[in-house]
């Protein structure tokens, strides 16, 4: 019987089947940030089990509130920092080197095809873009991961979504994933892995694929996953060049993770994007999606560009292309948070930061803060934000605030127009 990507990964990592339908797998990576890890650390200390299974396989970053905004967040950072030091965790990223985890860790080459990764963060599904099985977990799963290097999952059933057609002008990976979530719903992939395939995915950069996989969780998916191909090899080449004689050899090695032609899926879907327009969410669920054109006159108070969904260099390029020679509307405040120091540096080198600043954007250091209303751009009651993030839940960016999820190009156009707008409409 043919196997999916996730099935192949589970088969090579399974260490136990404690009950029917439950598989305990060995972990290649346990990734940590300062919001969900400290309570796990405290619990391990309280249990007299303050150990880590392998300091090389643990990566840690302070990213959610950086710089610390108060005593509590400073303490969270300190707990993580002290723990990383005492266990010799070399890949620990503190302020100055830190970035949004799901942008930073792949950029560092920590995610490889066939890997198994958990993190105490639901958007860990982003990392499946590399052909890895990567899943968000709670603090208890994280704690056991840190201690034992294993995690239990239900046997991974997979839905395959073939994305066909060609990307229309002005449409981006964000619009594609919003259209998919709008179609299958916030519960459409619960407890399932989503394998994204088809010509549109093949033509996408790793950045685009990460945007796609990032929002698999918004349909309930355990992980979004793409087959690792030449694009994956090219992205990873600086990190893997010692392992393979050439790129063709790396590609051949990666292909063992491809799904078999007769792989068994829990469902398949063809999603054609011909005629797709820039989209925005309305309401408080990410499956409430319609064309920006059909949103009516929605004035915004804030525009936010950043996050693990859309804070990468391609996102900044797309937004800057819209902003060049323009200024933001006087009633809007606009914030750019490049997702990592490298993205920030590249954006400076390419002149993008200047474009954002000349347009009237505030450019901040890399952090997750605004996306979940913790810091760096929190909304006041009754305020409206067009945001390149991933969740429009009630209160997400601040109590009583309203969030419209959009692509970076649409966010930039909205900043200029003062209301939800596409770049084409400017």
């Amino acid at each position: 019987m043919g196997r999916t990507i996730a099935r192949k990964i589970f088969d090579t990592h399974r260490v136990d089947t404690p009950a029917e339908g439950i598989e305990v797998i060995r972990l290649d990576g346990v990734f940590c940030h300062e919001i969900t890890t400290p309570i796990a650390i405290h619990d391990l200390v309280a249990r007299d089990k303050d150990r880590v299974f392998d300091p090389k396989r643990i990566k840690a970053v302070i990213d959610h509130v950086s710089p610390a905004k108060d005593g509590k967040t400073a303490t969270q950072g300190k707990v993580l920092r002290d723990w990383a030091r005492r266990h010799g965790i070399q890949d620990f990223f503190d302020i100055g080197r830190n970035g949004v985890c799901h942008a930073l860790f792949p950029e560092q080459g920590f995610v490889r095809p066939g890997d198994t990764i958990i993190m105490g963060d639901s958007h860990t599904c982003t990392l499946g873009a590399f052909g890895a099985f990567a899943a968000g977990v709670g603090t208890t799963d994280l704690e056991v991961g840190i201690l034992k290097g294993v995690c239990a999952f239900r046997a991974p059933e997979t839905i395959r979504i073939d994305i066909t057609g060609a990307m229309p002008e002005g449409v981006f990976a964000k619009d594609v994933i919003l259209s998919i979530i709008g179609r299958i719903g916030v519960n459409g992939a619960t407890d399932r892995v989503i394998e994204f395939s088809g010509p549109v995915v093949e033509a996408m950069s790793m950045e685009g694929r990460m945007t796609l996989c990032n929002m698999a969780i918004e349909a309930g998916g355990t992980c979004g996953i793409c087959r690792p191909d030449r694009v994956t090899v090219d992205y990873l080449w600086p990190f893997i060049r010692e392992q393979y004689p050439d790129r063709a050899a790396a590609l051949e090695a990666f292909q063992k993770w491809w799904p078999d032609p007769d792989a068994v899926y829990a469902g398949t879907l063809v999603h054609d994007i011909c005629g797709l327009e820039p989209l925005a969410t309305f309401g408080f669920k990410p499956d409430q999606v319609k064309p920006v054109r059909a949103m009516g006159d929605v004035a915004v108070d804030q525009v936010y560009i950043g996050s693990c969904t859309n804070g990468r260099i391609e996102d900044l390029r797309a937004a800057a292309a819209v902003l060049r020679g323009r200024t933001i509307h006087p009633s809007v405040r606009a914030i750019l948070s490049p997702a990592t120091p490298k993205v920030y540096a590249d954006a400076m080198a390419e002149g993008l930061v200047a474009t954002f600043m000349e347009a009237g954007f505030c450019v901040t250091n890399p952090t997750c803060g605004a996306c979940l209303g913790m810091s760096n751009g929190v909304l006041a009651e009754g305020e409206v934000c067009a945001s390149t993030t991933n969740r429009n839940f009630a209160g997400r960016m601040g109590k009583g605030g309203m969030v419209h999820l959009v692509s970076p190009a649409t966010a930039a156009a909205t900043a200029v127009a003062g209301h939800l707008a596409t770049a084409a409409s400017l």
Partner: protein, 174 residues
């Protein structure tokens, strides 16, 4: 193992997310107990008032996809420190459901028509649920009416509840 059951809170909405159960602004707390006053502060549900409706509650009955969104285990913890050890729903988001059992709490799925009937018969009345762990039956009672509802738990979920959670289970086994 804990004792499950108590007064029932009916939440008549699907897709209640973990930001609603415990907003991110409280994720800077580093003890479970500190989360207690903030449970469901942002819940989008007409006529629901956290300060009035959560007092003395021991169990929740709700619709589909409860606990979607963020992976924060603060959501089950916020329930736990408020004495709510049992959530009964049509379905759950994967991470939330796993977090509940990992903490030794119960997230039990019942058929949509069973949930609909419980809402019809009991919602709006002071209702209690008792849990017969061995017979695997819920006993719902309200002034003059009662109903027994059998439930199922996967063996692994049951083992986690009996072990008091995943850390103890995994520590013995791996």
């Amino acid at each position: 193992m804990r004792s499950f059951g108590g007064n029932v809170l009916f939440l008549d909405r699907s897709d209640i997310n973990t930001d609603e159960i415990i907003p991110a602004r409280y994720l800077t707390e580093m003890t479970k107990a500190a989360l207690k006053p903030f449970l469901m502060e942002d819940l989008e549900l007409e006529e629901f008032r956290a300060d009035r409706d959560l007092a003395g509650v021991g169990a929740i009955v709700t619709r589909a996809n409860f606990g979607c969104g963020s992976s924060r285990e603060h959501a089950p913890w916020a329930l736990e420190v408020n004495g709510i050890y049992l959530v009964i729903a049509e379905s759950f988001a994967r991470i939330f459901r796993q977090n509940m059992f990992n903490c030794g709490l119960m997230a039990v799925t019942l058929a949509p028509e069973t949930i609909a009937r419980l809402f019809e018969r009991f919602a709006g009345r002071p209702t209690r649920v008792g849990v017969d762990w061995n017979a695997m039956v819920f006993h719902f009672t309200a002034d003059g009416i009662s109903e027994q509802v059998p439930f199922a738990l996967a063996p692994f979920d049951r083992a986690l509840v009996e072990a008091g959670g995943w850390v103890d289970y995994a520590d013995r086994r791996y």
